[in-house]
């Protein structure tokens, strides 16, 4: 179903959602850094820049408690986090590269173990995607088969119009419910033309060829060459919309504390450090190889999907300028 909403009415919609007690998460500039964050007023939304971190944290936060413990006399009292308390959420202004990553993540979080923390937030969230009208030369969504107008992952999808306002298309029941609950804010027709979409920056990579090469080249000197400069931080994984590794630790004191889950990254030396002292990925090229293998082979083997949406964030933030788009393109020509 196609509708239109004016700039002003979108703000009214956000205000009404906030007033109704929903958590509204949208791009917002927090002391200079754009991030997807809960809004306290619609005016805080700032759609100009791609947020520095992806939208995955609406479902998979940087850090969360999974239980708490307390010593009471000779017993230990455990309290679970109650996912029923996760708020109903509307995630607004999600770029196609971020929205498309969410169905990709669904696969792993509902696979052998149903991750209630992720899935409950996911169930309670309506995703309002936004067609992309600006790109830079780190962007490569087209390389992995997506585009500035990909609607994958969106319940409702907005396409900006010249002079303000948006075309709204619904792609799920959640999207339709959002429109029908606030139907007075939407209109059926408009004469405004959509804004030109962001420039497509790359040819589509032959991901089948990439995978075929990865299938046969776990051992290859190519890995040493591309990863010799990698310093082994987690910046690429932490800004990535699709990376989803996490660590679980207990923090607190003897009497009470929390069990917590927080983002982890395969670039870290510690990531595969065994209790025995052995580290099967003892050198950085082995760790970087895992990053590429996981995105373009293992995830495909397991879920028939690619664990990369071409947002380009890892390229922008890499301290040493490692460019995953160049790497995938090079592999596709091997």
């Amino acid at each position: 179903m196609q509708n239109f909403i004016s700039e002003q009415n979108l703000n009214v919609l956000l205000e009404q959602l906030i007033k109704s007690g929903k958590r509204v998460v949208a791009p917002r500039v927090n002391s200079g850094t754009p991030l997807y964050e809960p809004l306290s007023a619609s005016g805080e939304m700032d759609l100009k820049e791609l947020p520095r971190r992806s939208a995955k944290e609406a479902f998979f936060p940087v850090c969360e408690d999974i239980l708490s413990y307390e010593k009471v006399g000779l017993n230990v009292k455990l309290s679970d986090v109650d996912p029923a308390r996760f708020p109903e959420t509307v995630l607004v202004g999600v770029r196609p590269c971020d929205a498309a990553a969410i169905p990709v993540l669904d696969a792993v979080f509902s696979w052998d173990y149903k991750d209630q923390f992720y899935l409950e937030r996911r169930r309670k969230t309506t995703i309002v995607g936004l067609a992309c009208t600006s790109s830079d030369d780190a962007c490569f969504c087209s390389g992995v088969g997506l585009s500035p107008s990909t609607t994958k992952g969106s319940d409702l999808f907005l396409t900006p119009l010249e002079g303000g306002g948006y075309v709204c298309e619904t792609y799920s029941q959640k999207g339709e419910d959002l429109v029908s609950n606030y139907k007075e804010l939407f209109v059926d027709t408009t004469s405004a033309k959509p804004l030109p979409l962001a420039e497509v920056r790359t040819e589509t990579f032959d991901l089948k060829k990439v995978k075929a090469w990865l299938d046969n080249n776990f051992e290859n000197s190519y890995w040493d060459g591309i990863a010799i400069s990698c310093v082994g931080c987690g910046a690429c994984a932490f800004v990535c919309p699709a990376c989803h590794c996490f660590d679980i630790v207990d923090e607190g004191a003897e009497k009470k504390g929390q069990r917590r889950k927080s983002w982890d990254a395969c670039g870290f030396w510690k990531f595969t450090h065994h209790a025995s002292g052995h580290n099967p990925r003892d050198l950085q090229p082995k760790r970087y190889r895992n990053r590429i293998m996981h995105k373009f082979k293992y995830y495909d083997d397991k879920f028939s999907q690619t664990l990369c949406t071409g947002c380009g964030r890892c390229i922008r933030v890499c301290p040493v300028g490692i460019d995953i788009a160049t790497i995938v393109e090079e592999i596709s020509h091997k």
Binding site: S31, C63, D137, S229, C233, F238, W263, P319, D323, T326
Partner: protein, 309 residues
């Protein structure tokens, strides 16, 4: 609207040419096993660290305003597979050279193992998220505004190029430190709490730092867990204080930690504040000469003892 003046980087063409010729010469004569330098990559205006081991790779070396990295990190214990022995060449800006001098003082490097290609430098970008950015008074790295080593000395080779006189730039660190010093402790604490809350524990600051060469960082230890590992207030604060303290008297101000922080935490402010304390207490500046023991590793009777009450 643009009130910011473009800065003169015209010398970088000649610097690039000179680096290439020299790197090719020392590689082909077998003087060094490799030259650590910068080369362009796919994105317009980009530069990334490379390890050139032959003349073909040496011919691709560049120097531009996007050559931000402190390449000294590749000569530390953290990167054992690069400097395997023998003599190695490295392209260094004046600020990077200070880190190498510090590492020599800490017995991490020997001068005779290095072939230093010094870079006359007008300044580099503060951020390379968009590497095609023009170098202006607004985009220049804050460290360059307070630079005293545009023309490095004590190298094995320096292109004979004169750095054009740079306009007087506002010292952003000194101004910001003065602003923070004027706050009450509670206000200052609240400022840093807000900054540390942004940390996601990606450790990019640690991994690019030439002085963070501990083979196992205190913050990675879990037998016992010394510092909470999750990105929450206690662990974040502990990490950033450990970092600042561990770098006091050592950090030479390359500001790589601050440049690479994906959350824009002004990390070099802590380092500059520590450097200021060292200057005031011991009249010491790191990175100026190879010293086995800095003021925090030694005792002199004239040291300030007013803290003993």
């Amino acid at each position: 609207m643009n009130n910011h003046a473009a800065l003169d980087t015209s010398i970088y063409t000649a610097v690039t040419e000179a680096i290439r010729v020299e790197a090719q010469r020392i590689l082909s004569e077998g003087q060094v096993t490799a030259v650590i330098g910068y080369a362009a990559s796919r994105r317009k205006g980009s530069a990334r660290p490379v390890i050139a081991t032959d003349a073909v790779a040496a011919d691709k070396l560049i120097f531009t305003a996007a050559c931000v990295n402190n390449l000294a990190v590749y000569l530390t214990k953290a990167k054992k597979d690069i400097h395997k022995g023998g003599k190695i060449g490295i392209v260094v800006k004046g600020c990077d050279l200070k880190a190498l001098i510090g590492l020599m003082g800490e017995s991490q490097l020997k001068r005779e193992d290095l072939y230093l290609i010094g870079v006359p430098c007008s300044g580099v970008l503060g951020s390379t998220m968009q590497p095609a950015t023009e170098l202006t008074t607004a985009t220049i790295a804050p460290k360059c505004c307070e630079c005293d080593v545009h023309q490095p000395t004590g190298c094995d080779f320096i292109p004979s190029v004169t750095v054009p006189s740079t306009p007087q730039l506002e010292g952003k660190y000194s101004a910001e430190i003065a602003r923070l010093e004027a706050l009450t402790p509670a206000e200052r604490w609240s400022y840093w709490k807000e900054q540390f809350a942004k940390c996601i524990k990606c450790y990019a600051c640690r991994q690019v730092c030439p002085f963070c060469f501990c083979e196992q960082c205190l913050c990675d230890r879990n037998k016992p867990q010394m510092v909470d590992s999750t990105p929450r207030p206690s662990g974040n604060t502990a990490w950033h204080i450990v970092r600042a303290m561990h770098l006091a008297g050592r950090c030479a101000g390359c500001a790589e930690c601050e440049r690479v922080c994906p959350m824009d935490i002004p990390l070099n402010l802590l380092n500059r504040k520590m450097a200021k304390e060292l200057k005031e207490l011991y009249d010491y500046e790191s990175g100026l000469e190879v010293l086995e023991k800095g003021p925090l590793n030694s005792f002199a009777e004239k040291d300030d003892q007013s803290f003993i009450k």
